[in-house]
Symmetry: C2
Subunit: 152 residues, 2 copies
């Protein structure tokens, strides 16, 4: 064999997960790139699309992502005119997000490419295997690791 570079960390669930994410991320990024979007951005636009002018907090929760991280990630999309935000009139703490017309067009464009990536990936690992993997990963994302704060 010629590609057993360094074995090792293959035991850390977190490390292995990150490694796979880098690899798959590069693949989806490559395929979606012609649209000018990163795979993460395409996913975010999609998440916004399927929501009904979702609040930032709702999006962050759905993506299991830090609220401030979402805010940062949203900036380039706002700057490029794909997304816009507005304060919820019923609760001015809440800021809702929606796609602009250009954003919708861009999402359509990216989704076409995404389907190609998705298909290619599933052709390689098998549709069932992919579904099982997603289920397992969904479970992880839904795990409830203990209580960070204290219980007074």
């Amino acid at each position: 064999m010629s590609k057993d570079t360094l074995p090792g960390l293959t035991l850390c669930n977190n490390a292995v997960l990150r490694r796979a994410t880098r690899k798959l991320g590069q693949f989806y990024d490559d395929v979606v790139a012609p649209s000018g979007l990163k795979a993460t951005q395409q996913g975010l636009l999609y998440q916004i699309h399927i929501g009904d002018e979702p609040a930032m907090g709702a999006i962050a929760a759905a993506l299991v992502m830090d609220l401030s991280a979402l805010g940062h990630t949203l900036k380039p999309l706002i700057r490029d005119g794909y997304v816009e935000t507005f304060t919820d009139p019923d609760d001015r703490r809440i800021k809702r997000v929606r796609l602009t017309p250009q954003g919708s067009v861009k999402l359509d464009e990216a989704m076409k490419l995404w389907r190609v990536a998705q298909q290619r990936f599933e052709d390689m690992v098998g549709k069932e295997q992919a579904a099982m993997l997603r289920a397992a990963l969904d479970d992880i994302a839904a795990l409830d690791f203990g209580i960070p704060p204290a219980a007074p």
Copy 2:
């Protein structure tokens, strides 16, 4: 049900993978935090540790990570004195990496915490399930998506 916030992107292999990575990353980070390291840094130190003064390229390959990204990630560890680099005398293009004494100590400290995280995680999802998941993720990291360049 009360927590079905937004469904959706659960079909994109890449998005689901990233989401799980964020979640698990936060968990491992939290547990390893007392050492002052991020889980990614602990993993990187470990990778260096198990290698024999590995070259940067070898580490990057093992982690399926961009070489420049590795360089960037290494900087804070070098700055904090946990890692040092040196040019390979037989090929001065190559820069090798090794842990400093403090780096070894710090890694030991972090590994103790890592074991706790690893154990807690496997207690939750099951040792077998975790092993299967790692295997599946390893396969993904090893996938060979077509040829980016052309074949002249």
